[in-house]
């Protein structure tokens, strides 16, 4: 049985006004109660994918299709999309220090989001804010609401950020590197929190570069390289049996935390391509150890079983 997708992105391409393509074929979906990890290195377009779903890139031209709750977002009017933002879909950003307005209290900023979407009085909104902060495990939530961002620790700021994102009970929560700016012990706290949220039924899209984070808090994963999704599947499948040579190399490059210490870490030679020099064939072919002549044509996504897809000629018929 397969859950009805909450969000479905089909062949999303994103162009700069000068014609450079930042995303060149992103296809993925998120169902309610699922958590999709979008993994990739810097410049792979994982944050851009998230921002396009939110509609926060007005200056870029998007082609393809993004369907959210059965509505096509790319043809939707800005006014309609704005109603979705913050209420039906919400976003958590990497650095809660800069993501909050530094000059207003945390509480005021959460109140604002609540009152943008719900007809509540200031007083009622604040009561809800305090309740949300409490649910996120912020000690003394009433006091915390009156604090300014710089007066809270990184972990508490990120909790407040999540409280704000959840204030209107969104169906989809997008988290862009939510723990990268945090220390490991605090990161663990936030990951546990995110996992609880998904278990409560929200669809989560988690953008990260850390395979460990994906393993801990996601059910599914999509691997992005140079603006293209190269592999998708459940976390268990992809992490234990990566199919795409890029996913394999990426996993191998992580230094192990137990077992014997390798003499050298396996590396990927070269650098990821910049958008204007993206190969017309398989985007990974210039760095791929298994490159073949037929890599010169961009491979389609090949279905490799239930929800498992890979874009590589090695698995062609």
């Amino acid at each position: 049985m397969r859950a009805e997708p909450l969000l479905q992105i089909q062949d999303l391409r994103l162009e700069l006004p000068d014609g450079r393509r930042l995303l060149d074929g992103v296809t993925l979906d998120v169902a309610a109660g699922q958590s999709l990890g979008v993994v990739g290195e810097s410049g792979s377009g994982k944050s851009l994918t998230a921002m396009s779903v939110m509609g926060l890139l007005p200056r870029l031209k998007a082609k393809g299709s993004i369907v959210f709750q059965k509505h096509e977002l790319l043809s939707m009017r800005e006014k309609e999309r704005r109603k979705l933002r913050g209420s039906q879909m919400a976003m958590i950003f990497q650095d809660p220090m800069t993501a909050f307005l530094p000059v207003r209290s945390i509480g005021a900023q959460i109140d604002e989001q609540i009152r943008l979407h719900q007809p509540l009085s200031r007083h009622e909104a604040r009561a809800l804010t305090v309740k949300l902060l409490e649910r996120m495990g912020v000690p003394d939530p009433e006091m915390a609401a009156r604090r300014y961002p710089h007066q809270l620790s990184g972990g508490l700021r990120q909790r407040a950020m999540i409280a704000m994102a959840l204030s209107c009970s969104p169906a989809l929560l997008i988290a862009d590197e939510p723990t990268t700016a945090l220390d490991v012990t605090v990161q663990a706290q936030i990951l546990v929190l995110l996992r609880t949220l998904r278990e409560e039924g929200a669809g989560v899209m988690l953008i990260t570069h850390d395979m460990g984070v994906v393993a801990q808090s996601c059910t599914h994963v999509a691997v992005l390289y140079a603006g293209v999704v190269v592999e998708r599947g459940t976390v268990v499948d992809v992490l234990q049996q990566p199919l795409h040579p890029y996913t394999q190399a990426l996993l191998a490059a992580i230094p192990p935390l137990d077992g014997p210490k390798p003499e050298r870490l396996p590396t990927i030679p070269g650098q990821p391509p910049v958008p204007e020099a993206r190969p017309s064939g398989c985007v990974f072919s210039p760095r791929c150890p298994k490159v073949r002549p037929d890599c010169a044509v961009r491979p389609d996504m090949i279905e490799m079983g239930e929800g498992r897809r890979v874009a590589c000629v090695l698995y062609g018929a």
Binding site: E41, S42, S153, G154, G155, L156, D183, V184, T185, V186, Q187, A188, Q189, L191, V192, H209, D210, M211, G212, V213, A215, Q216, S217, L239, Q240, A249, L250, A253, I254, P255, P256, L257, D258, K261, P262, E263, R264, L265, P266, T267, I268, Q271
Partner: protein, 311 residues
């Protein structure tokens, strides 16, 4: 192997306004032997970067002393420190900020050689590029033309220019992507085996540290809580904090154990007794009163805990 660098009860305090004092480093003693790689690990605010800078003579310790090759270097004037500067170098995390954007790579690499009046500069620069795996064609280019990984290679080349015996690297790979990070980690390994340079790595990433260092020292709120052979410490942590830190790293193979509660306390107002007792899952009454000293346990390791997990 002889001892190259030694810290004896180093403390570093910063005066804040209103009579408050921030204890960044609170009594650290450690040794680095020739050719050895030591890693300082801990979360933000544990004092690892401050300690690193103090070790290399950037800022004098409030008390205690630092010895390099048997000679005391802490508290020396800039002038008397200069001969040591060539023998120890620092590599920073942000490779883009440590290059002058208006100077070519060639100029940047030659600069330390010129300052120290070395001869054969051109040959030496070429040799450095070979060592860090960059081609000679990069000399005429500017820092912004390189990717983060390439810039970090150049950064390391510059630090190696004067042939130092010690490199202190502050989060040298944490700004890099995993695949590039692996390249730089390997590069440090190669340099150590080729040049025999001793390294102090400062990092928050246990997996990276395990790969790069022989010994690790885990820091919490300005003090070392545990040190010893890297594989041994991470294989079976003796201090509850080391264990918590290790458990908190998200891994593919097992679910996260319940994380430590709360945040790191402020170094302005550190807890009494063992500084970790406020978050420690196995703390006893004694831990709040008595500060545990580092003491030896099996395998040449040391731990500062009244109730260590390994004895």
């Amino acid at each position: 192997m002889s001892i190259l660098l030694e810290a004896r009860s180093v403390e570093k305090h910063y005066r804040l306004g209103g009579g408050r004092v921030l204890q960044a480093v609170a009594g650290v003693s450690l040794q680095v032997r020739r050719g050895e790689a030591l890693a300082l690990v801990g979360e933000s605010g544990c004092g690892k970067s401050t300690l690193g800078r103090t070790l290399i003579g950037l800022g004098a310790p409030t008390s205690g002393e630092v010895l390099f090759d048997g000679a005391r270097i802490s508290g020396l004037s800039d002038r008397s420190l200069r001969p040591y500067r060539a023998r120890m170098q620092m590599v920073f995390q942000d490779s883009s900020a440590s290059f002058n954007p208006r100077r070519t790579v060639g100029e940047a690499l030659a600069e330390p050689l010129k300052i120290h009046r070395r001869t054969g500069i051109v040959e030496r620069v070429h040799e450095l590029l070979d060592q860090v795996g960059m081609s000679r064609s990069v000399l005429k280019r500017y820092p912004h033309e390189f990717s983060g990984g390439q810039r970090q290679r150049l950064n390391i080349a510059r630090a190696l220019a004067l042939g130092p015996e010690l490199l202190v690297a502050d989060e040298p790979v944490s700004a890099l992507d995993v695949s590039v990070q692996a390249q730089i980690v390997n590069l440090f390994g190669d340099l150590r085996s080729q040049l025999g340079v001793a390294c102090v790595f400062i990092s928050h990433d246990l997996a990276v540290v395990r790969q790069m260092a022989d010994r690790i020292a885990v820091m919490y709120l300005g003090g070392i809580v545990e040190q010893g052979d890297g594989l041994a410490v991470l294989g079976a942590p003796a201090h509850p904090y080391t264990k918590a830190l290790l458990d908190a790293v998200p891994r593919p193979d097992r679910p996260l154990p319940p994380p430590l509660a709360g945040d790191v306390p402020s170094p302005v107002n550190p807890p009494s007794g063992c500084r970790f007792h406020t978050r420690c899952p196995i703390a006893q009454a004694r831990c709040a009163q008595e500060r545990p000293e580092l003491r030896g346990i099996t395998g040449g390791r040391e731990v500062a805990c009244h109730y260590p997990l390994v004895s």
